[in-house]
Each structure stands twice: as structure tokens, then as C-alpha cells.
């Protein structure tokens, strides 16, 4: 699977943010499915730390990284309002998926099973 540099950075950031805590380079590598080279992950993490997207602290001979998830209160508040968006505000967003009714959910699960 080929990935652009920006894509890889997003994947690494997403893995860090998903964990929430401090992760070593090998933790991040495992969290990404273990298919990337150790040095690749290390380079990306180093670059993210330099950009201020992650903080790091020494753990033994290497570093552990933590994602800097935005804590700007005003922006976060506005984003929370976007999460609850309805009507026009919802119309300008493209949403990945929406909630389902119980029947819809069962139908989709059946579809996936039939395909197996």
C-alpha cells in the first residue's frame, strides 16, 4: 500500500490521538498494523514533535510521544456545535455515516454476512 507523506503523518497522528496516552515508536508502529519500517515511524514522530503536533518525553533510550489534541476552548465549543448540526449547518458538512434504526442495522449486518 503506497501512502503519501501527508497521509502517513495523519495515520500516525490518528493512532496517537486514538490512544490518548504516551506511545513509544514501536507502540505506534504496532498500532498502525506493524507493516511500516521502524525508522519510517520514528522519522514521522520526530517531525511531528518538531512541528508541535506531539510532545515527547524520554523513556529509557528512546522517546514516548503524546498527540497534542486541540484544547482551544472557544474553537472546541464551536466544533461541538457542529457535531450537533442540523438543517443548513449539517447540509454544508459531508458526514461519514449517520445513525441507524434497529431494522436498518440488522439489514446491513445480514448483507455483510451473506457476502462472506
Amino acid at each position: 500500500m503506497s501512502r503519501g507523506r501527508g497521509d502517513l503523518e495523519q495515520q500516525v497522528f490518528a493512532a496517537l490521538a486514538a490512544d490518548g496516552g504516551a506511545m513509544t515508536t514501536s507502540d505506534v508502529r504496532d498500532a498502525l498494523g506493524g507493516e511500516l519500517a521502524y525508522t519510517t515511524v520514528m522519522t514521522v514522530l520526530g517531525r511531528m514533535a518538531a512541528k508541535g503536533l506531539a510532545t515527547r518525553q524520554r523513556v529509557g533510550r528512546s522517546y514516548a510521544y503524546t498527540a497534542v489534541v486541540d484544547s482551544a476552548e472557544v474553537a472546541a465549543h464551536q466544533l461541538h456545535r457542529l457535531l450537533d448540526a442540523r438543517g443548513d449547518r449539517a447540509a454544508v458538512l459531508t458526514r461519514f455515516a449517520r445513525g441507524l434504526s434497529a431494522e436498518e442495522s440488522q439489514l446491513l449486518v445480514d448483507l455483510l454476512q451473506d457476502d462472506e
Binding site: M1, G6, D7, E9, Q10, Q11, F13, A14, A15, A17, A18, D19, G20, A31, L32, G33, M48, G52, L53, A67, V68, V69, D70, S71, A72, A75, A76, Q78, L79, H80, R81, L82, L83, D84, A85, R86, G87, D88, R89, A90, A91, V92, L93, T94, R95, F96, A97, R98, G99, L100, S101, E104, S105, L107, L108, V109, L111, L112, D115
Partner: protein, 307 residues
Amino acid sequence: MTTAAILGLIAIVGYALIAPAAARWMAPSVATKLVIAGNVLSAASGVFILAVLAFTWIGQFPFVAAQGAWSPAALHSDSPVPAWPAAIAGCLVLLALLSVLVTGLRQMRALVEVHRACRGLTAVGDLVVLDDERPDAFSTPQPAGRVIVTSGLLRALDPRQRAVLLAHEKSHLQHHHAWWNLAAGLTAAVNPVLRPAARAAATAVERWADEDAARAVGDRRLVATTLVRVAQLQTRFVHPEAVVGATGGDLETRVRALLAPPPRHRPLVIAAAIAAFALFALPAAAVQHTGEALFEHAERPVAGQHT
């Protein structure tokens, strides 16, 4: 003129009925562009035909006729359109313009609001992670578009599912999908008959991003299971009323399409669709032509001798 106008309006209804089914036959990127182009043409031609009909009546008011160069009496005796259908046409045009104006202004305000909310956020490329338990992901319109994902959703997905999610949202930004959706919404505001076609276009937009994600991760089934997983996670958090407004597209259609082989480009279907558009445009052109002839015929003899 009346025949052409009626044919034109029938063509619009015919298009509105066919478009949702036709969209399913085409590759989603093609379906999006063609259906939204078709919607814009239909909405515009509908307003145009009704406006010409209305003007055969409005043109008979002495103060309007005075502005133009025709005689109200001649126009009255020549016009094939009785007063009351023309008046109704005029009201429909007004309603359509009012509706598109209100919808457009509200969407503009929402756009500004969304951009303001995203300003000054720390983003990795265009990805913003929001510290929130609720699983959710969406993208905001370009320029300065952002992919916003909650930490709750990232936690609930495995690495491969996260790759699907990011690839899907990236496709939305890359292809300016929010703008296609907004355009579709405006055509539905002009003419409510076009609503099902606009919904089909919104589903095609999501399918487009799904196909891009499937290509990026190299696994169609994985995209389908990720979709279902996220939808199920959201069900536990999202209020049922909020579900109605969200533009997730038709999930069942999307999952079925992903479990089927990848869509092929069908040049014949595209050619047929474009030919149909051209055919649909004929009655509107005829209305334009006969409308013009009507007013020319009603011109006062003195008019036109300006030199």
C-alpha cells in the same frame, strides 16, 4: 407555445423520475456531475418556461407595455395563454426565486459559521482531531476544508478502519464534494420535483468517496464493514432527530455497491444521458422562440424607428 411549454414541463418531471435510477447505473463520480448538471438545467429551464408564460400576462399591463415596444391589446388578442395559468406561472416563479434566495442565504451563513469554527485549529495537514467521546467524522467545504474526527471514533476503530475513514474524508476534500451537495440542495429549493434527484446526487457523492477509499486501502469489503461499524457506533450517541438532517447518504445503497464489483465506466450510458439533456432542452428553446415571436408580432408600428 402552450404545447412547447407543457412539453418542457413534462420533460422536467420525466427527468426527475429517471435521474435517481440513472445515477445508480453510472460510476459515482460521473453520476454526481451528470445528475447535478441535469438538476441545474431542469431547474433553470422550469423557471424560464414559467417566466415566459407569466410575461405574456404581465406584458399586458399598460405600464409594462409602455416600457416595451408592444401594444397591450395586440398582445392580449395574440397570446395563446389565458390569464389565469399565466398568473399561476408568475406566482410559481416568484416562489422558486424566493425559496432559492432563502436557502442560498442560509447556506452561506452556515458556511461562514463552519469556517469560523475551524479557524485557528491545530491541524495535521487538514485533519483535526476533536477530543470528544461521541464517535463522529465529517469534512467541511473547501477552500480551507478540514476533516474533523473525534477521538472517540478513532479509539473505536482498528488501524485499517482508520485508514478507510481518512481516505474517505480526503476524497471529499479533494473533489470539493460539499459544493456539489450544496448545488444539489439549491436545485431542490428551486423545484421540489427535483428533490429525489438531489438526494440521489448526495448518495452518489458518498459513493464516490467510498470508491476512492476502497482504492486507497485496496479492499472494498473493509470499506463496507467500516461504514456499518461507524453507523452502529453513532446510533448509540446521535439523537434520532439529528439523523434526518445528516448527509450520510443512503447507507444500504452504499454497502450493497461496495459488496458488488467496482463500477465500470459506461460511455454509452453517459452519451445517452447527454443526448437526453439536449432533447429536454428543445421545448425550452421552442418556448423562447415562440415567446419572442409573440412580442415581436405585437410591436407597435412606430416602435423600432429609433434612428
